[in-house]
Symmetry: C2
Subunit: 139 residues, 2 copies
């Protein structure tokens, strides 16, 4: 049983065959595709179909939304149009404006600074989204 299935159980989310398959694909996503993997629903459906080709895209949509509401996945709209998903695990993204490649990073300092700024504005920081867009430095 993978991490996603465990979280489902904890939250009382019914574990169907389809959901297990989707959870499996998501859990393996990073391992197989590296840290740049942020599949959209179509891509997920493709991967899922290679295991069970009877799973409809509607189910992928429903599951992905379910997992998001359960806090298992995060949804990104790097460029609106197609949402992309990845396992919830707090970090930020740097997007290569030329290749579209996504680099993940975490930075303690920026996190602290954000909290401080929110407080100054009279808010408790609940969530944040930081995306950097850059071009590769040539050596």
């Amino acid at each position: 049983m993978n991490a996603i299935e465990e979280k489902c159980q904890k939250k009382g989310v019914r574990l169907t065959d389809q959901r297990k398959t989707i959870a499996k694909v998501l859990s393996e996503s990073k391992a197989v595709y590296g840290s740049k993997d942020h599949p959209d629903v179509d891509e997920l459906h493709k991967r899922v179909s290679s295991i069970d080709d009877k799973i409809s895209i509607a189910t992928v949509y429903r599951t992905v939304k379910l997992f998001e509401e359960a806090g298992i996945l995060v949804k990104h709209d790097f460029k609106a149009g197609k949402a992309r998903y990845e396992i919830n695990d707090d970090h930020n993204h740097l997007i290569d404006i030329n290749s579209g490649e996504i680099v993940e990073f975490v930075d303690k300092d920026i996190e602290e600074l954000q909290k401080k700024i929110a407080k100054k504005l009279g808010y408790n920081l609940v969530d944040h989204k930081l995306e950097l867009y850059g071009s590769k430095i040539k050596k």
Copy 2:
């Protein structure tokens, strides 16, 4: 002639009556609605229609895209579904998760930090998007 019209001229964007009207609405947007104003296309169309009710929503879509490509407007997808626009002027957003209210802010420190992080990852920072989500601190 407002700032948007000037930029259009500079960029060789043809100034039609419709575009002038939309530019006017956009220029006045902040003044009238305050810093929390980030209208979507529908809202823009409504405001524009009160001046000239023959302007179609297709034109608003086309114009808004045109202005964005000219660097006059920035497009936001705070929550995907409906894009929202505002005059291009670099700052960040804090979004009240309860009321949806948007607070704008700038912070030098965070800007510097972002540049540094990008560099460390091997990139030149071209653009960035920072959104904080918070809940009001009660006093």
